[in-house]
């Protein structure tokens, strides 16, 4: 059962994307934006590690590399969700999104 799943798995991103993210993170422009936003320099090393692990998986199918990569990306997802939402998310879009405009109704401001 493990073998087919393992053969189906691939890194969440193509390996080159990790490299371009690493380069982008370290760029002068990004460091400036990060300081402008957070008052500190960005931490970029994780992108480099992810790129290395991605290449390890590509070349050697290393299970340690796969696990490290998955852990890193799950951390990223968790960081993006690290806030308590102010509102409740919808299960369906608003019903009137596509309804035609009623030209006779007065415009509400």
């Amino acid at each position: 059962m493990d073998r087919p799943e393992e053969s189906r798995w691939r890194p969440p991103r193509v390996c080159e994307d990790y490299w371009t993210e690493f380069r982008h993170c370290k760029s002068l422009r990004n460091r400036f934006h990060h300081y402008y936003t957070y008052g500190a320099m960005p931490s970029c090393q994780q992108w480099n590690e992810d790129h290395n692990n991605c290449k390890q998986w590509e070349m050697h199918r290393s299970p340690e590399a796969k696990e490290a990569l998955q852990k890193s990306e799950r951390n990223r997802v968790a960081e993006q969700k690290n806030f308590t939402p102010v509102w409740q998310l919808r299960q369906e879009p608003p019903r009137d999104w596509h309804m035609p405009l009623n030209q006779e109704k007065p415009q509400d401001s």
């Binding site: 691939r10 969440p12 982008h24 422009r29 936003t37 102010v86 409740q88 919808r90 405009l101």
Partner: protein, 208 residues
Amino acid sequence: MRTFPNYTMDQTKQEEECGGLCALGPYAKLLLGAMKNSGCKVFKERHFSCEDCSGTVSGGFDAASSQIVLCQNNIHQQSHMNRVVTHELIHSFDHCRAHVDWFNNLRHLACSEIRAANLSGDCSFINEVSRLNFGLKEHHQECVRGRALRSILAVRKISREEAEKIVDEVFDSCFNDHAPFGRIPHSKEDAKFAYRDYMNKDRYYANL
């Protein structure tokens, strides 16, 4: 809006996907894709309205009619229009994906304004300098607070103190909500990286 003659087949298909709005740049492209995925495909003719507006307002989102209003008398440059459209699309995106009570819940209104100021490029260093607001360390956050406050006071009859209190209450949560970008896009380059991530999301989540 700008038009591009001499499309290739791929570009034509992309334009169909964006409803003819791709020319508005990578921020808008990502938002339009995210909205389509959430069941709120945007149609130029239905969801945009160009009007003359009073004062210096550049645009707005009318939840009652599901329309983005662009103030044609106050927008004179393409870059400004791109930014206004991005800002209003963020409100539309919030309306599409969440139960936002625009009219009765000031926290909801404040949250969407914080997000729009944060993620649209409104508070870029260059834009702030052009407004003669010179700040560097963490100035982006200061700008987001200030612009969210301004937007709330423009549409609601409440005191500045009350508006500040509401912005303070929701700031941490809403400043850290970067959907659908996954990051704060400070530049077109950031927005392109975010768009790349967005287009890759199926593979991404399938292999976590």
